[in-house]
Subunit: 578 residues, 2 copies
């Protein structure tokens, strides 16, 4: 049953799309809106098209009550609205680029389909980690509707208080943790990296870890799962397993969810001889065209250039996939496109009551790429502090020496998404610290502050880059304690609740009268100032600099320091007599 419409028009008459979710379906819909007469066939190997894959964890948790809500369109609704020929259960097994045909395998047999323009939107496949026992029925993944159905069936059969192990603390892993905990399971989370959510910089991740702990989630960081084995012994539920970790820990589990990342589903493209990039993603130009002028590709399977670092590789995110689909359709139909720009990698996750979001280059990626940068950290309220309900937002941003914004990350209970979206827009525009300082954002007490947190990032970055406020960083603590006087300008009450060994406490309001004490204590050493967030210590640093001392301000203050080193907040436990 190949579609055999022909035409002498230069526009392609036969568009074939392989893959019927995000990017593929965006392309098919856009193609129809641009060309009413083209034949548009969408081939989807699963039974589901255009489903809400980002919504799966929220049906698992029960927040999204109806499974139907995840199925945004059906082949029937797409035919009715857009005259698309959507064929589910149809796997493309090969591409004959010479003859411009694809071979399609269905339950009923195989056939060939001719194309004038072919769009590949095959997505990604879950990476299968080298762990024994992943085929046990207790082990699940969470990428597709069948994955979800299987996981829900398993979870639904378990009693309250059943035990779950989630392997992989990336975005989907964290959403799965939250969902399982909300359903009443006791969840243990295993992550090979030394902190949760590896795209987040290490200094912010402890905030998420604390939130997970506060909701009863057990954390196992810096370890991998090495095997899953059937549980044995008395009282063991049917199907229960034990997950053994690389440090020897044995975690009993009634259900295991594995999400350790994805790789581009580029086998079909590779077999067809299309050019792939170093990390196995399909290489495309700024119009989404592959190395074959009749073939386009979009979504998790294609290679993009990351902004700032210039890293090249796949970035499995729904937003870029959808926009790539629209662009590919424009290009297939011979129209001007908005060319693919470098990808910022903007992403966000909610973990219980906390939100974490990133855009642009992380500090870790800047360091890997050897890109010079200054980091600024602030902890402002998400709206006017005097208005009820203000929540602290932890914001970190990196700037080039010339002031250009390079990346930003945020964690907090409210207002994080807004600031990261503004910063993502600023990044796209190539804005500098000066530009952030001058942004004119909407202010009324329930929404922000007259000096918005984004303005504050700009102000602090200006001060750092111009040398008005030299900084020191939490990562330098050991060296600083060895070589400098630490001056804590918080109040005596704050000091009493925890402080650095060997520090001198002079509240900032007393500093101008006590500069000589500082000079004496410093004895020629630099003075490393800090307060809680960096605001009072900025004033103090200026006072000391004016007095001719070599003073620096702790970036982000005690809040940043204790997030990175939570042990500073723990009092030494009292010895217990037996």
């Amino acid at each position: 049953m190949p579609t055999t419409t022909t035409s002498s028009s230069p526009a392609p008459r036969r568009v074939v799309v392989v893959g019927g979710v995000a990017g593929g379906m965006s392309a098919a819909a856009r193609a129809r809106r641009l060309d009413e007469s083209a034949s548009i066939v969408v081939l989807e190997q699963s039974e589901y098209v255009s489903f809400a894959n980002c919504g799966l964890p929220y049906h698992l948790s029960g927040e999204i009550e109806r499974r139907d809500s995840l199925l945004l369109h059906t082949p029937e609704s797409l035919r009715a609205a857009l005259a698309l020929d959507v064929r589910t259960g149809s796997r493309v097994t090969s591409i004959d680029r010479e003859r411009r045909t694809v071979s399609v395998q269905t339950a009923d047999g195989a056939y060939e389909l001719e194309y004038d323009a072919l769009l590949l939107a095959p997505g990604a496949v879950a990476v299968r980690p080298p762990v024994d026992g992943l085929d046990l029925p207790a082990v699940h993944s969470l990428r597709t509707i069948p994955d979800l159905d299987g996981l829900l069936a398993r979870v639904g059969s378990l009693p309250a208080g059943a035990r779950a192990v989630v392997v992989g603390a990336g975005f989907i892993g964290l959403e799965a943790v939250e969902a399982l905990a909300v359903r009443g399971l006791q969840v243990e989370l295993v992550e090979l990296a030394d902190h949760v959510l590896p795209p987040l910089d290490a200094e912010l991740a402890p905030l998420l870890a604390e939130e997970l702990g506060a909701h009863g989630v057990g954390l196992h960081l810096g370890v991998s799962a090495t095997s899953v084995t059937p549980a044995t012994g008395q009282g063991t539920d049917e199907g229960s397993v034990v997950v053994t970790l690389s440090d020897g820990t044995r975690l009993p589990a009634d259900v295991v969810v594995v999400n350790v990342g994805v790789r581009p589903a580029s086998d079909l493209a590779r077999d067809a001889g299309l050019e792939l990039g170093a990390r196995g993603a399909i290489r495309v130009d700024a119009d989404q065209r592959t190395s074959d002028p009749h073939v386009w590709a979009v979504g998790d399977a294609v290679e993009v250039v990351q902004a700032v670092t210039g890293d090249v590789g796949p970035v499995p995110l729904a937003g870029p996939a959808n926009r790539q689909g629209r662009r590919a359709a424009d290009s297939m139909l011979g129209r001007r496109t908005t060319q693919q720009a470098a990808v910022l990698g903007t992403a966000i996750v909610r973990v219980f009551d906390l939100t974490a979001a990133v855009t642009g280059a992380s500090q870790a990626s800047l360091e890997r790429a050897g890109i010079p940068h200054e980091v600024v950290r602030i902890h402002p309220a998400h709206h006017a502090g005097y208005y009820p309900g203000a929540e602290q937002v932890h914001l970190v941003a990196s700037f080039a020496p010339d002031g250009r914004l390079l990346g930003a990350q945020g964690v907090g209970r409210a207002g994080v998404d807004k600031r990261i979206d503004v910063l993502a827009t600023a990044l796209r525009a190539g804005m500098t610290a000066d530009d952030l300082a001058e942004l004119e954002l909407a202010y009324a007490p329930p929404f922000g502050s007259a000096k918005d947190p984004v303005n504050m990032l700009g102000f602090v970055a200006q001060n750092v880059l111009e040398g008005t406020m030299p900084q020191w960083h939490a990562a330098d603590l050991d060296e600083v304690q060895a070589t400098a006087l630490v001056l804590d300008v918080r109040s005596r009450g704050e000091w009493a609740r925890g402080h650095l060994d060997g520090a001198l406490n002079i509240p900032h309001t007393e500093l101008r009268d006590r500069v000589d004490e500082v000079r004496t204590a410093a004895a020629g050493r630099p003075v490393a100032v800090h307060c809680a967030s960096g605001v009072r210590s900025y004033i103090a640093t200026r006072v000391l600099l004016a007095a001719g001392l070599d003073a620096r301000n702790l970036s982000g203050g005690w809040l940043t320091l204790t997030a990175a080193r939570p042990e500073l907040l723990d009092p030494t436990p009292e010895p217990v007599d037996a």
Copy 2:
């Protein structure tokens, strides 16, 4: 007690700041952080410095429980933290620019103060409308702490169900209405313009009016108050009044709040011979310097250039005032400044559960300025529609023919502040429809959509500007009904709940099979298509264009049309037999 420090240094040793709120206090604090040794005197005529003037309505409502919360700093706290010499109750009566002195009047007498750099931050004064009886004790304003104290005392003395009249439906007026209603008063709102919140375009204002009505607020639009007179007669509470409107309506009131706008408090500057602009605001350069090189000015009293239209005049907003203060301090101390850019006028207000926000040029201001533009309107969900709690956001944006964003406005129950902040950032960056289409904003189902509303604005604008989707507008309705076939492609159920007279209803899923019906009904006339929001009718418009018909899509659909013309939703009342 003039400060008489002198110095041979080129940096000013004596900084005098007139006005101790937003811009003035920002400048004083920044000046201290930059120069530890300068003498910095802040002269404030009232008893309060650095108070949260944007927070006043929220203490009136009781949301901010403690009056103290509004007093962010005191002269004592500013002396302790920043070594500022803050003098309240100190009115500057004149400036001698030749001798570089200001004359200060206090309750205890007068004195002169020398300056090397003088900063004027006198703010604005309430416009007093030409209404008889504004001196009656029932009549209040809401700009200062004493205003608030007086209003609270009055409101606190009133019984439940007392009556309030608010004159002026600008930002503060609307906040006052909400606060009084929350406190249980029956509120009537009077506005001279034909819609509430005049900076908002007329098409969005009915959404606010509806929200006000739903909370029991009476609206009197297109009328002014002409007099306030003491109430007389039996059962009248002491101090009650009657507010008479220009249409003859008489509104009994136990309290009246008048906020009809402000004008620059530029008398001192004018008397000193400083250059003023056409609307009485102090003229400054991009460093906030006035026509006198030793005098700077910031805040509500200064002239700014508005972005897009190039209009010149004062813009009384807290955000710009604070940033101007920082810039003025930099300039006074001889540092590089981030020069004042044209002001976008970004602003936001919460009215009960609804938020309205604006940035850049409104449609009305573009029309006044004769700037060509295309307007696009969308009504997307504020986050993924399949995730619980999705709220509709009404967004309107204007674009130049070359694609440049000119302005945007939004109304909705959630997510409006975020989109307007992103659009304000895009505006500042000079972004186009293409740029908005490609913005990479943070997406997970609780926060947004893979195609964020801001991306959607870009997509729709691209379609309009490239001619892919010709539009018609709600404002053209009468002409369209007279000259075109209106084709309503909503479902039969939607049609049954209200539709345009004379329209043809063909659900969009049936249109491809029924194009000939449309051709026949159109009989050579253009076809004006619409659906609920503009999405289905966009597809339908493409189908009709492909069939050779002259089709256009209603921008914003039925939702925009019925917001502008709510009478379309009202069924004709049945005649009532007496």
